[in-house]
């Protein structure tokens, strides 16, 4: 792993409300959601993070803002990873979509939308991908009842 690169990246990212720190051997950056697109562009174009690994969210029901949206990127050239973390509120759970930068964002954002109800501004197709049409609620939110099922087939008597 190229520690020098991560160190340079950390210095470059510092500022603009971004707080890069090292956690578990990878660079984790807390940032305001307005800074997302600029940061991603910088990661991709200047530092060669060419692979978008995943986007997911973390639900903190007691906290305000309630959600963290988490992106992971990987550089296939330097074999290093970086994580971006943005806090969003429940009432305004919107972040910018990365579909213009990474094609794989289409599907991963749909999954995150399924599970947590995060809206990705710019992703035109947020239909359910793992869930099905008509499913109410977002099952990985902590307030989704554990045993609530929404069957598609009527049960036998």
């Amino acid at each position: 792993m190229d520690q020098g690169l991560l160190e340079r990246l950390r210095e470059r990212l510092d500022g603009d409300g971004r707080e890069p720190v090292f956690a578990h051997g990878l660079l984790a950056v807390q940032l305001p959601r307005e800074a997302l697109l600029d940061t991603v562009k910088l990661l991709k174009e200047e530092f060669g993070f060419d692979m978008f690994l995943d986007v997911t969210a973390v639900d903190w029901p007691q906290r305000e803002p309630r959600f963290d949206v988490v992106h992971h990127f990987y550089s296939t050239r330097d074999h290093v990873r970086v994580r971006l973390k943005m806090a969003v509120t429940e009432a305004d759970a919107v972040v910018d979509s990365l579909v213009d930068h990474y094609g794989s964002a289409h599907f991963m954002e749909r999954e995150c939308h399924d599970m947590y109800g995060i809206v990705f501004r710019g992703n035109a197709d947020l239909r359910p991908i793992l869930l099905y049409e008509g499913f109410e609620g977002h099952p990985l939110r902590k307030d989704y009842p554990k045993e609530r099922e929404q069957p598609l087939v009527r049960y036998r008597e």
């Binding site: 989704y144 554990k146 087939v153 049960y155």
Partner: protein, 164 residues
């Protein structure tokens, strides 16, 4: 050279009841449709290959068309999203048909109790034999097949009527 031909009696004729005959024939010609969705598939492969060999029970040839099969083996977790497909496959099978719930997931949902997993396929289709285990050992699968064979052999077969 004057010997009288004596009948030995061996296999020259056989008496049986027609429905027993049909049951006997049917129980050794099970054509399974493997509806395989999850990890139990590994066990299904091992039970159908050389070591355990379900061919001995006439249940060797998987048919991947519900029209040609008469045993629906539901192998693995069924999610709510998958359930309509399972139901459709079941409905497309011709009578007579039987259903086997292979593993605890198909039987009762297993350890999945959440928004996604159907809590047992018997909520949507009738099941003839349940095989417990996560995954079941091949021996329990064979036991299940044998119990199903008994059930088939002892059932009444609607094709037996006064004209047959």
């Amino acid at each position: 050279m004057n010997q009288v031909h004596e009948k030995s009696g061996a296999f020259e004729y056989l008496t049986t009841r027609k429905d027993e005959l049909v049951g006997w024939a049917r129980k050794f010609s099970i054509f399974p449709y493997p509806f395989v969705t999850a990890c139990c598939a590994m066990e299904f492969m091992s039970v159908s290959s050389t070591m355990y060999d379900t061919d001995r029970f006439g249940a060797a040839l998987p048919r991947f068309s519900p029209r040609q099969s008469d045993l629906l083996m539901v192998v693995g977790t069924i999610t709510h999203k998958q359930a309509p497909i399972l139901k459709k496959v079941y409905e497309q099978m011709c009578e007579p048909k039987w259903v086997m719930a292979f593993g605890v997931c198909a039987t009762s949902g297993g350890f999945y109790r959440n928004y996604a997993a159907l809590q047992g396929i018997d909520k949507i289709i009738p099941v003839d034999v349940y095989i417990p285990g996560c995954p079941p050992r091949p021996e329990s699968v064979i036991d299940g097949i044998m119990q199903l064979q008994d059930k088939i052999a002892n059932a009444s077969h609607p094709i037996i009527n006064e004209k047959f």
